[in-house]
Symmetry: C2
Subunit: 357 residues, 2 copies
């Protein structure tokens, strides 16, 4: 057994609270992170970047190159949520999504978008018989239909043609699939499901399927199967407990993880990691949910997803023990109090109080 090098004791973290409930939930994540790292002698040096709709309206910056370079210097990024209210006509649809969130994912090569789905004790699923849900979606994060490839011709006329190109590369698919197999091999059930639509999207589908077949030979201990995306949404409704590790492309992963959030007690509990597993740039951790402008400022946003995203960040920084403590505290908190009405900051306080147990 080799001895892993000890994790650093101090980390420089960029905090991007964003818009709407973003700052509210990130504040609780930071509260919990400070409470768990401090006594362990680990320091998180935090720099806050006020990016988002407000910042853009005030300064005209969504995310410029200078800020990108400063962000690149951090060890990790903790992200809240971005997006103005949908009826706020000052902010065109998608600007913040593409020029901020996706720019970070693409610019920092976050090729694994890791999204665990767990049905915690104390939470309720909208499914009548949810079973024992505990799976992870390994979503591609840097290509597919998110590549921003495509365009329009004869725009605005009755002859308009609008295209969107899904770009998939052997390089991108291989590193994703390898990660998914390694993860599956490390889990108890050792199951991997490729979700795609290779009966229609033959080009991308074959590339995914062939890559999975190749790695399957290297990982004989992992049981592999395949499911079309449409069938996957059925099983996500009728039997989500069947899944262990799902590997899928960027768009299918987007769709499936929101559905997964819904079946596991709500999107307010679902964290995610945008991971550059080659560590050539900082990885980024965020709740799956958005900025929820409708409840912003009411102090009722659920900070659990953000807190769990913080735990994923700790694990990525080499502190699996601290991550584990946060997760345990969250689990216990949900067990004791469920997701019932507490203020955002009360949930943070309650989780902090349970860290010691």
């Amino acid at each position: 057994e080799t001895t892993a090098s000890a994790p650093a004791r101090s980390h420089s973290i960029a905090v991007l609270p964003g818009d709407g409930i973003g700052p509210e939930v990130v504040a609780e994540a930071v509260k919990v992170l400070d409470a768990v790292t401090g006594p362990a002698g680990v320091t998180l040096e935090k720099t806050t970047y006020p990016l988002g709709a407000e910042h853009w309206l005030e300064t005209g910056e969504v995310l410029n190159e200078d800020t990108m370079e400063r962000l690149r210097g951090h060890d990790a990024i903790l992200f809240g949520a971005v997006g103005a209210a949908p009826n706020d006509k000052r902010v065109p649809s998608g600007i913040l999504e593409r020029d901020l969130l996706l720019k970070l994912r693409f610019g920092f090569d976050h090729f694994v978008n890791l999204r665990p789905a767990t049905l915690y004790p104390g939470t309720t699923s909208p499914l009548a018989e949810p079973g024992d849900i505990d799976f992870v979606v390994v979503r591609e994060g840097t290509e597919g239909l998110y590549a921003g490839n495509g365009g329009t011709m004869r725009t605005g006329t009755e002859h308009e043609i609008a295209t969107e190109v899904s770009v998939n590369t052997a390089h991108g698919v291989r590193r994703l699939v390898r990660y998914a197999f390694e993860l599956a091999a490390s889990r108890e059930r050792r199951k991997l499901t490729l979700v795609h639509k290779h009966n229609v999207l033959v080009n991308a589908g074959r590339l995914y399927q062939r890559t999975v077949d190749e790695f399957a030979e290297q990982f004989p201990e992992v049981a592999v199967d395949y499911m079309h995306i449409d069938a996957a949404t059925i099983f996500m409704t009728t039997d989500p407990a069947r899944f262990d590790v799902i590997v899928t492309d960027n768009l299918f992963g987007d769709i499936l993880t929101d559905q997964a959030g819904a079946v596991t007690g709500g999107i307010g509990l679902a964290p995610s990691g945008n991971i550059n597993a080659e560590r050539t740039a900082p990885s980024m951790f965020e709740p799956v949910h958005g900025s929820a402008p409708d409840i912003a400022g009411t102090g009722t946003a659920q900070p659990t997803a953000a807190i769990l995203a913080g735990a994923m960040m700790l694990e990525h920084l080499g502190h699996a023990d601290l991550a584990e403590r946060v997760e345990r505290a969250v689990r216990r908190d949900l067990e004791l109090r469920g997701t019932s009405a507490r203020s955002t900051s009360q949930v943070g306080d309650d989780v902090v109080a349970l860290l010691g147990e």
Copy 2:
């Protein structure tokens, strides 16, 4: 009030039972169709085409031009399901889907893929609190990512690039959206939801959104909203009763209607119409489910979706009254007996017996 021209009393129907459970469920649909049309003096002249995996293995034909032309001569097509068992290595993935099913949809310009979702009394949803579900998905059927546009470069090497192009046209989107608005205006709740992902798929998304905005002015009585596809899968889980008419693209429609089938008591109840609303070629009616090779031959397949697809065909042929009778009989059958274990042919018999009520 104008007098509509009387519907024809005789129709020529192409029956394509297909593979797996396809022939089993189509037989029951035909049984019910014959029972409801006969006494009303309406004749369905049926020609069966043995297309599908078996036919392809025996003759090498998936669907040739000659057969296409013969099919074109019919008034409508009743389709079962195609697809060999997934582990049947003799049939490459997607051949039957693309060269048969999609060839028909594209060749006969089935631009509206109409998929009603209803939670019938007597059936059970996997959702704990499904509410009163009764909506229709108006899915585009002739473009988007199904266009078969795309390809690979450096195929099979570590430098492979595989693309899939979603092609969307003003022509295609306009006729779809018009149909959806007309449908919404004719329904009680008069609600239309555009589902897309226009924050990421900006080109196609803008075209869809702009087209919906245009028609919204012509249909002030229809309440219009927008939802991202990922959010739609959440609401499909937590509150499907909120939907009335959903209009969406080909792939999102595929995904959403399988999920809709699951939340409304199972895909065995979900019918669909592939409609050429300009009537320049025959429309095609089919259950949403596939060929289910695993249960083929056991006599346990649920024929309800196929029977309801038959009702949609009757309505398309101008016999709304007969369609209504079939739907009522199915509703009553489910109310009385649910979806519990009956043989495929028993369900057909039971529905026939209820036609008179």
